[in-house]
Symmetry: C2
Subunit: 868 residues, 2 copies
């Protein structure tokens, strides 16, 4: 027969899978001699067994009875006994603590007889009957699902009748009366009498815990937090100690350090003469833990020592529950304390300073999410409490911001110039919206996923962004957005939480992040650990500076097309696209080259001796063309007949632009564009070398390659251009030409590409689109449904798909690395900054990842945590 | 030193790589004792060497001299000799005969002195000076590029002056005068005197042959016919024999069988007293070969015997050149004769009947192109001669047709109903054009590639089609198409050649194909050979019937969406898409189910015990929605507000529909559609089993799968539906559920899909799109340029890309076959019917291919030819 139950004296803190977090820690504390009331844990295996068979195992009942007997012996009390009754607390305890789970039932074992015995034994009938009514209330609520308010309303009514203002005024007779009514409520709702048999109470409580594993709140929580549904929960049964047994008793919780700021010193609160739930319930105001030093100095001293011991033992800040019974201290729970990002960073640094943790161990306590949280402004918690979200979308770029809504980039820009704080709200954004996006406090779209244009650009800029917010019905033409209870019009003030995806009406005050020095220290530690480099996807002065400050080891992706979207530049770009002959095209290219050269000077100067990968023009040309309605204006600006502009725009239209005339394909059909870009890059590099003694080595990257001959053709064009410049400047400098691996075919034929390419970078966004046949722009229509139906474990645009995309990447690396180990493999798609994906990327031998500047520190931390 | 030259006595017919086709056959005929004038072949290696070094190798000159000496000995003549001069013919001869190559120079070695010697020796000065002027003319034209008309115009002028009507009237003095003027023309154009040194003539001629390998016509021809540029050409030098040396001399060509009809018996013509080029030149009318039997019965007898010998020796119909010199027969060339498809089939069947070839060998003489040619109507050759094409596109579906142009499906349909023969001319077609396509004699589009909608549908229907005809500027709104010299308007009559891609103005008479019995015999032989099955992509009664008649082994792809495009059905489909609630949707589905069930009855009844794979709905829903301008009409028909229809259409719009909400994704989000289709299929199957005792086993195929969970989810829905029907009908019949492998991810994870899928079929069209990131619809914009720049050897939509797409397919098969050999792998994309791709498909272990009905016989033949 399988053993389902473990006494607290049997387990240890490592056994969380079996005993749950709470059980494992109770066992651990017992084993190191702390004053833990005796008890035992019903393992997660029992829960799994129960859920599979839908039956309470007979053998488990027997095992419970045996352990209760032991407990009776240890405590010299008897479960359901009529002289000195043993009372039990029942608490759930999964491996990870989860909301929605059945939590706690106290005082189990009391019935109409034993309550009298308890009253007699303690000589405290008020206490005894209070315990019984609490049991009735908790059991009714938690096990039988009776609405709590049924009990509470009656108690309020009773106290009012009696003119009592607090529970403490209640006499034993009062509680007895209340108990009678509670039992009636119980009978009325459940059509059963409250069970008098303590074992019946016990089994029902345990079964309720098991069942609560599969209630909908718990399921949702697990899905959101990627917790395996098969883990199951444990149940802890423990002899009761009573904080409500008089004025030398009490109960409280304390952190070993401040969980909000990380400051050292106990941080908690307690209540005299109270049971656990009273602290949380908020009926009486608890006292700060420090006051215990005055009230019970010896107990306080003992508690402080235990706290220090536990922190050292667990090597982390602890969150501890305790009870004092008649001047005797009991520890009921300890766990690693939840903390804000700021506190986490401070505590990690302190623990290293205190010699408790090594740097490497301290890094393990930090998560990438904490960095995100640390860096972005947040809504003030107190103000947020009073608000209700009107809509919720995908949290695409963290942060918090308020402002007035505008529905077009132009309107947003105009308003911003008038000094307004603006929020751009659109169905979706496109590159031409960039000037409106730049000036916005936050960007909200009703369509698109985590890697939509809005999301990518916003993250790149570190601007708060919510996408795919489909409960907002945005009509850009009417300049309004409908939501369930109203509508937003131009100028409506809203607040956007990019960390949660929630949208609020009105302005909510923000608290800016001021934590950069903390982060800097952690990044420097992290960089000592990892061997996988982190670069940034960036091309503007601000972004590159941010990235380098955040520890980026160079630029892994500078997108040259982003530089064409300035107001003057896009006009030149449009002229280029509409040019009627080579001469006209050449004229535009001369002007564009000067712009680009200026940009590349700045980029290469900033990155200096760090690597810098510049990608040649990638998007289809029609992305540079404005919308239908703006064509007349464009024709006027370009001084061309409208019909000609319309014809050209129609010619550029593609059915599947993602699979169309873009990237290397533009390079093949318009080699002069890539020549111009190469000239701009290399002239900048040469002039920096000559005039500023910089040591630069530009890495020129060609996008969308799918065939070796294509790459060789383009490389040849680039090299000829470069050779001409070397002759002109009478100087040769190092450079590299490489291919982006973003089509499945490029990955499959990497070996042949490697004869031409000097480096590779996986473009995982496009590679994912092509491997699945999912359009990033369109898949939002069905990808949620796939996730809900569990057909996709995760959005492959957020977390690398190992089986498909990962396999292609591995194929490429395996083909090339053994023969040409000098060829580096980077990743410059969104997953390059995704902590979860980094595990696999490191495993397959990626040399560097590149992500948006604000994701750089999290990536560095993740890699450090992966280091052996 | 490398040996560059081989005497005719040294080689054999197997050495075509080294000696070229002509040289190898001259050597072969020499070795079997036929009367071939002596000579030697300069090998292709010499050409390759020359082209690489751009220099005429000294060693080659020496070798030539040595072989000329041998020739002098054999013929007892002397090259450039003044008593009995040796004259030489120079002919190119590559491995494959090619137009555009420098062909022939006769009488080489003559000069001002030796011509007199020849005159004296032969006592025939007319002959001698005629030979010399021919040399001047041919050498000037072929080696020096002097426009032929310069010579011809003068000769005409001279004869007119003299009142001669034919060359035969020319006297020696006349030729001498002409020679003087020819030499002046030569000097004027080349600024050189005509070389008197015979060796100088010879080297120049050989070099000219070498150079002609790289003239642009030759290059184009090689590209079109996939001939390797690196092969090079050989040069044959041979002692002259003279058909123009009197009335017992002559020259001619003959096939051993009729090359147009395949009938047995010599088929050729000859001229008395003439040199080779006179037969072709058309100045004198040659006589049918049969007349030689009267004129020179002994020679005819000898020739006939040689013809029979050569046909047996080469085991194929021969095309033979001969010359009679003073009553003596010489054979100058033999080669396998070019023939029409019809002749090829007849000859192959005859050769088997004659015991010359086995069936297997006979099949090797037939090509898939011949089947295509055999099956489709063709323009009458005599009428075609007088026409010039006005435009040329991609030959998407073979055949020939004439009719009046219409620019919309509706107009085409209307005109067709009025009894007109119509040709649909559009920028591109979409599924809603289907009713216009069905009634058209031919379909022409200005955009799109070989696998565009128009091309695929037209091939499926066996309708002549030209796509990507971008020299036609089609404006559907103005109903006109501009071409270089004019424009086509509605009602203009044009003729379309789907075999060549050419478009003509006016009507050209057609000759229909009547050759089905020939084909039937060949298919039956072919089916004895291959072990790779051929199925058809078909769903209409006509197509399935055609496919089965053509030898298809079942249906590999019945596209259920094609069944929704009928006029009534599409209305129901549109109602379904616009339904506002489940009830409305359900109502439409009931009606659609009846339509589908009727179709499936027909399909399954026709295919009977052959396998039949039915694919569930694949395209995105917006493909069923008409264009913007037709929405008001649709709103009226559906009785819905226009705004609602517009909104729905806008919602369905996708940026990259190819990567969007379609295929299995529709199945996941609208399971009721797949349920309906499954019901229709299985009810049809059950009722056929019960009422008609058919033994059917429908294979239901789910498109666009990219994940095992997705497949399992859908399979479960289908199976539940089927189980319900089995209970209802009280009968269980066999069926299979399988996945289409058309995303890279499906191929990469085939092993996990195989736990759920009972069969697989590669959708190579979509797989190619995704592997390259090429949209079939859009890639036409750049794919030509890729081919011109040799960045893509071939269009991967026409011929399977082995390195990328092929690798993915192989990965899938390798993952699954060893573990689950019972799972079949089919191919149902366009390349399934492509002979070139079949080699690879057979190699990787594909179980069957499926292609449009008209491609079935060619596929069967190709597979038979591949059989070991």
């Amino acid at each position: 027969m399988k053993k389902f139950i473990f006494d607290f004296t049997e387990g240890s803190k490592e056994q969380k899978d079996l005993l749950g977090g709470k059980g494992a820690n109770l066992a651990e504390m017992t084993s190191i001699g702390l004053p833990v009331p005796p008890g035992f844990t019903i393992s997660t295996n029992a829960c799994i067994h129960y859920l599979a068979s839908k039956e309470f195992p007979q053998s488990l009942k027997k095992e419970i009875q045996e352990h209760i007997l032991t407990l009776e012996t240890k405590t010299a009390k008897k479960f359901g006994g009529l002289t000195n009754p043993l009372l039990i607390s029942v608490r759930s305890g999964a491996k990870f603590s989860m909301p929605g789970m059945m939590d706690t039932i106290l005082n189990l074992g009391l019935n109409d007889q034993s309550v009298a015995a308890l009253a007699k034994k303690t000589d405290n009938p008020v206490f005894a009957y209070d315990c019984y009514r609490r049991l009735l209330q908790m059991f009714g609520d938690v096990v039988k699902g009776i609405d709590k308010s049924r009990f509470e309303d009656y108690l309020s009514h009773y106290k009012k009748q009696k003119n009592y203002s607090a529970d403490t005024e209640m006499l034993a007779e009062d509680w007895q009366q209340v108990i009678e009514v509670y039992k009636e409520i119980y009978l009325e709702v459940t059509q059963e009498v409250f069970p008098q048999d303590p074992y019946q109470q016990l089994y029902a409580a345990v079964e309720a815990v098991f069942r609560s594993w599969n209630n909908s709140r718990a399921i949702t929580y697990r899905r959101l937090n990627h917790i395996d549904d098969a883990l199951g929960t444990a149940v802890n049964l423990q002899a009761m100690v009573f904080g409500n047994s008089g004025n030398h008793s009490g109960t409280g919780v304390s952190f070993t350090r401040n969980p909000a700021t990380g400051e050292a010193g106990l941080f908690g609160e307690y209540l005299i003469n109270a049971q656990g739930e009273d602290v949380v319930a908020g009926i009486r105001t608890p006292l700060p833990i420090k006051e215990l030093a005055q009230q019970q100095p010896k107990i306080y001293q003992q508690f402080q020592e235990i706290c220090q011991l536990l922190e050292k033992h667990y090597r982390d800040m602890q969150d501890i529950e305790f009870t004092i019974e008649e001047g005797q201290l009991f520890i009921l729970q300890t766990r690693n304390g939840k903390r804000t990002a700021k506190a986490a960073f401070k505590i990690a640094i302190q623990l290293v300073a205190d010699g408790i943790l090594s740097k490497k161990e301290a890094l393990q306590q930090l998560t990438p999410e904490m960095i995100t949280q640390l860096l972005h402004p947040v809504f003030s918690e107190s103000h947020l409490k009073t608000q209700t979200a009107i809509a919720k979308g995908l949290p695409a770029s963290p942060g918090a911001a308020s402002g007035k809504v505008y529905f077009t980039a132009a309107a947003a820009k105009q308003a911003s110039e008038n000094g307004e704080k603006v929020i751009l709200l659109r169905q979706e954004t496109s590159p031409e919206d960039i000037e409106g996006m730049v000036v916005s406090q936050a960007i909200v779209t009703s369509r698109g996923g985590m890697t939509s244009h809005a999301a990518v650009v916003a993250r790149g800029m570190g601007v708060c962004c919510v996408v795919g917010c489909d409960s907002l019905e945005v009509n850009e033409f009417l300049k309004q957005a409908q939501f369930a209870e109203g509508k937003i019009v131009e100028g409506t003030e809203i607040s956007v939480n990019g960390t949660t995806g929630e949208i609020y009406l009105g302005t909510i005050p923000c608290e800016p992040s001021q934590e950069f020095p903390l982060l800097e220290k952690i990044i420097s530690w992290a960089k000592e650990q990892g061997n996988l480099q982190v670069r940034a996807n960036a091309e503007t002065f601000e972004d590159i500076q941010t990235a380098l400050q955040f520890g980026a080891n160079g630029i892994g992706l500078a997108r040259t097309e982003h530089m064409f979207f300035g107001e003057e530049r896009i006009l030149e770009m449009r002229k280029l696209i509409l040019a009627e002959n080579k001469q006209e095209r050449q004229n535009c290219l001369v002007i564009l080259k000067d712009y680009q050269k200026y940009d590349f000077m700045e980029i290469l100067r900033l990155t200096a001796d760090l690597p810098c990968t510049i990608r040649l023009l990638d998007p289809p040309l029609h992305e540079f063309i404005p919308k239908e309605s703006e064509l007349p204006e464009m024709a006027r600006l370009l001084n061309r007949p409208l019909s000609m502009v319309q014809q050209k725009v129609a010619d550029l239209k593609e059915i599947n632009p993602m699979l169309g005339h873009r990237g290397s394909r533009l390079g093949v059909t318009y080699p002069e564009i890539y020549e111009m870009q190469t000239q701009a890059i290399m002239e900048a590099a040469l002039e920096l070398t000559i005039n500023e003694k910089c040591q630069v080595c530009p890495e020129i990257m060609i996008p969308l390659i799918c065939e070796e001959k294509e790459l060789a053709y383009l490389k040849n064009i680039l090299e000829k251009t470069i050779q001409t410049l070397f002759e002109k400047y009478q100087l040769t400098i190092p450079y590299k030409i490489g291919a982006m691996l973003e089509t499945p075919r490029a990955c499959l034929t990497a070996k042949s590409l490697a004869t031409t390419s000097e480096f590779f970078s996986f473009g995982t966004n496009d590679l994912t689109q092509l491997t699945y046949g999912f359009s990033r722009d369109d898949s939002v229509k069905f990808i949620h449904e796939y996730q809900e139906k569990k057909l996709l474990a995760e959005d492959p645009f957020q977390h690398l798909d190992l089986a498909g995309v990962g396999q292609l990447m591995q194929t490429a690396i395996t083909q090339v690395k053994p023969l040409q180990p000098e060829i580096s493999f980077g990743v410059c798609g969104e997953v390059g900054g995704d902590p979860q994906s980094l595990v696999f990327l490191k495993e397959i031998g990626i040399d560097y990842v590149s992500c948006s500047p604000y994701r750089v520190p999290a990536a560095i931390l993740t890699i450090a945590k992966l280091a052996k």
